[in-house]
Symmetry: C2
Subunit: 557 residues, 2 copies
């Protein structure tokens, strides 16, 4: 009972000492990674860095309580931060109280939507985001994110929120304004981060870079020479406040909220399920939606901003040996300590280092291998990826998700409306009946057309099938029987039953009869409720093509 | 060459004397039917009755020249007239010059859209309107049309363009204002029309009713006692005029134009293809779209309004023995004669008779049998019909089409995302491998799970399949082999290939291996481009389950 509301109860009551040691290590490593990342992502979202720390505290407790994954590391993530900035910068200037208010409202909306969708059991909707779309989206988002850090990294004063082409043009036009100490510091940090990521992935390089750079700037007073620093980070517990609700604003933010819900949930559920499968426990999508929703509501009232389960931090958490949600609690405790005691230490932290942390984190997300492989496997899948990538790059993440989902579903519908339909011939005992185009020597039977439709039959492919039959009948003279192999017909809808019935009656008037073989159970159930049994009599369902041919009197070799 | 541009050339050059006699009879019968119907439908569209005659003249010539159907009777039809009234009454009061202008603009838009869609080869889009949607739509439209004639039939002054509930309420509130002579005349006409429709369907009852009622009203001067009459119908050739283009108005009318294109095209193509199949000639959807488009452009400049191939008149044309498009030319000639000489005869024609003609024509379209049968065959198909019916009745035809199409496609996607997946067992030599739930005695093999997925595999059903497998593996202990019967897998997309590969690798780590059987050609092509051949080795494609079981060492009985 208790574990149905709080899945955490299940691991908590069986908690062992050995688990604690593992959870402590993993939680600590993730925490050390999260402090700089949280601040960097908050900056990416156009918020004060401390917001990232607030978002990494209470929401983690809430998620651990309600969530069904034991390894998911919840907190601020790059893509969501990007969507927030792109949308909220349209309604208020970043840094203003109106901006902060919009972000909090967005966070409430995301939380409410997630809880509602979870209660409505809409977790399955995530299945409609194909991984072609996700891959294209992620790659494009990574590029957008990296470019958005250009100003912090180079010191060139660029306007944020511009399209990627404008950003590049601006950078080239103002190339003379590069601040070389900033650029040097940023590139050096990036080099260190990338080096450790490649050769020592479990080493908490971000905290090393943060410490080293802070010491350097403080020691050499580099902030006086034009390197931008984070400045004062308020310490202490997160402030509690209630968001101000504004209906007009909420309507403007709705597309962004839906995008965050979808993208955030996909990122979260895919890594959670991957690990759950390895560790042989179950993650319930609807429960996850609700847990993330509660976490976001908590984030909204405790000074944070929208959170989700982060892909890379969760992977680190798991690889570092985390056993249960306790690891996340350890992480949250570390964030709390940071907020209480260490915020003054970040005063001299240069913005360029935060930018380097963001870029180093997202650079791995650019994934051209999936694109190459998908194109090789199937052009339409590769095209979905490419289309999503290009649209996201040019028009942003919301548009990318929308176009990607619609395109992939249209491809599926289009293909099912033009199913693979072939004439079969008999090859030999071993191989049986095959496509006469692939096996040119296959034997056909005089007066009999054997065909196989590789599709569920429904209203949208009836026209195609009728055309195919008309053509095939036209080419065969003296046709008496059309023998349909139904083994590929997985489902049939009412319209298809009626259309085919009409077709069979009209062919029968001109002396061509139909026989079916290999009808599957669910299809048979539907046909038995129709008038086909009286129309086709014993030819409704021969178990195999061989038997059907015997009954209609064709000579098998 | 000539016949590629003008398909009419094909029948024209082989035209025989016997064809002419048949075409003359059929064309005459349709013409006699079209004169009163054209006027009635024009009135339904909120236009002067003569507009219906104009729309039945030049467009017919144009269609015969470019169309590929030899039997289609083009002209004004009820549903399209209804859509026109519903939309145009929102932008201008019926009868005003602005109203007429909107209708002409709509006609141009419909024509341009049809020609453009035809050139883009988009004729296939008609396949996505399932006949469940068409049936629901038609029944609801028939009811809407019948109720819209209430005011003409009863003489109660009701406001047009209202919802069906408002119309009914208005009628009940003003029941005292019934004009009994009008009602009597209307009901009597309807009785005659319905009687002949049922017992002598080929008798041109509308012209009989028109003549009798006109004579009666003229002889007894009933128009002075409050029966509304058509009044002056201008005679002579149609006026030529160019529509005035207004971008804002065009945008407002766009949904109506799209609906007319879709609904008109469906009505036209379905009856044309039905007859073409019986007469063994081909109707090309894209060519039909273009031909109807040209006909509409002709209607727009010759004082007409949007036309399409009418269901009932085409059926009459065919049953009356029409052989070629010559029949339509005869019809057009009769309309021309009417315009030149007979329009004064319609002066005393009562509106109630036109209303009766409309109602008698649409009453047959109310079709509950399809609904009952679809519900029996498959709930989802029946539900599509019911939903379209209800939405059309409450919110109009545009909304009905939109909701119907979207719902039917969602049902299809939803089902394909939750495919029928079963465990198989061996029954006997004759029957082979079947679902163990349907054949409880079927033999299963220790350490082997045989499963069959009845679906094309694509990104949206991967989650379902993973869940199914996880559950099945959990229930079977000591599992070593998962044997997948791919005979129902008609297609596979790149995402599914990658997801399944990951799945197979992760299962192999825990000692469970995969083997496939019955992989179809198109699926095999995709898999051969992936890494599955190295992953599965000889188990990639066993020809049958029997052979796969032999190779993996399971003992067949």
């Amino acid at each position: 009972m208790l574990s149905r509301i709080f899945p955490a109860w299940e691991w908590l009551r069986a908690y062992k000492k050995i688990d604690l040691r593992n959870d402590l290590t993993a939680g600590f490593i993730v925490g050390v990674m999260l402090v700089p990342q949280g601040m960097a992502y908050a900056a990416l979202a156009g918020l004060p860095p401390v917001t990232g720390l607030y978002a990494s505290l209470v929401p983690l407790f809430v998620y651990v309580l309600f969530g069904s994954s034991r390894h998911l590391a919840v907190g601020p993530v790059a893509i969501v931060s990007m969507v927030i900035f792109a949308q909220c910068a349209k309604v208020a200037p970043p840094g203003s109280p109106e901006y902060m208010n919009a972000v909090v409202l967005l966070c409430v909306m995301v939380g409410v939507l997630q809880v509602a969708l979870g209660l409505l059991r809409m977790g399955f909707m995530v299945n409609f985001l194909s991984h072609a779309v996700i891959s294209g989206l992620t790659s494009a988002a990574a590029i957008l994110i990296a470019f958005s850090q250009l100003k912090h990294l180079s010191g060139i004063p660029l306007k944020s929120g511009h399209s990627i082409l404008n950003l590049l043009a601006g950078a080239v036009r103002n190339l003379g304004e590069i601040h070389f100490p900033t650029l040097l510091l940023g590139l050096a940090s990036m080099a260190v981060l990338v080096f450790f990521k490649k050769w020592r992935p479990r080493f908490p390089a971000p905290i090393l870079v943060v410490c080293a750079a802070t010491l350097l700037v403080w020691g050499a007073r580099l902030d006086t020479s034009g390197i931008h620093i984070v400045g004062e980070v308020p310490g202490g517990l997160p402030p509690i406040h209630w968001p101000h609700f504004d209906f007009g604003l909420a309507r403007t933010l709705l597309p962004a909220a839906l995008t965050i819900v979808l993208v955030g949930f996909v990122e979260s559920i895919s890594i959670a399920q991957l690990i759950a499968a390895k560790e042989r426990y179950r993650v319930a999508p609807d429960r996850e939606l609700r847990a993330l929703g509660f976490a976001n509501l908590a984030a909204a009232v405790t000074g944070g901003y929208p959170v989700t389960g982060g892909f890379s931090r969760t992977a680190v958490n798991y690889q570092a040996g985390a056993r249960t949600g306790m690891a996340s609690l350890v992480t949250a405790a570390l964030i709390l300590l940071t907020l209480l005691f260490f915020t003054p230490l970040f005063y001299y932290l240069p913005n360029a280092v935060l930018a380097a942390i963001v870029i180093a984190a997202v650079i791995d997300l650019i994934d051209y291998k999936t694109a190459v492989e998908l194109f090789r496997l199937k052009k339409s899948s590769g095209l979905s990826l490419l289309l999503t990538f290009v649209v996201t790059l040019l028009f942003g993440i919301e548009m990318g998700v929308l176009v990607g989902v619609v395109f992939t579903l249209l491809v599926f519908i289009w293909r099912s409306a033009h199913p693979h339909t072939v004439e079969l011939g008999y090859v030999n005992e071993e191989i049986g009946f095959r496509n006469v185009k692939r096996y040119p020597g296959a034997k056909t039977f005089p007066g009999v057309l054997i065909l196989r439709v590789d599709a569920s039959l429904y209203f949208a492919n009836m026209a195609f099938l009728e055309d195919w039959l008309r053509q095939a009948v036209y080419e065969k003279s003296g046709l008496q029987w059309i023998l349909m192999d139904f083994s590929g017909v997985n489902d049939i809808d009412g319209c298809a039953v009626q259309t085919l019935e009409q077709l069979m009656r009209s062919y029968r008037e001109s002396g061509v009869r139909f026989a079916l073989s290999g009808v599957k159970g669910p299809v048979r159930d539907v046909l038995n409720r129709s008038t086909w049994p009286t129309l086709l009599e014993e030819h409704l369902g021969h178990p195999s093509l061989r038997q059907a041919l015997n009954v209609i009197g064709a000579k098998m070799p």
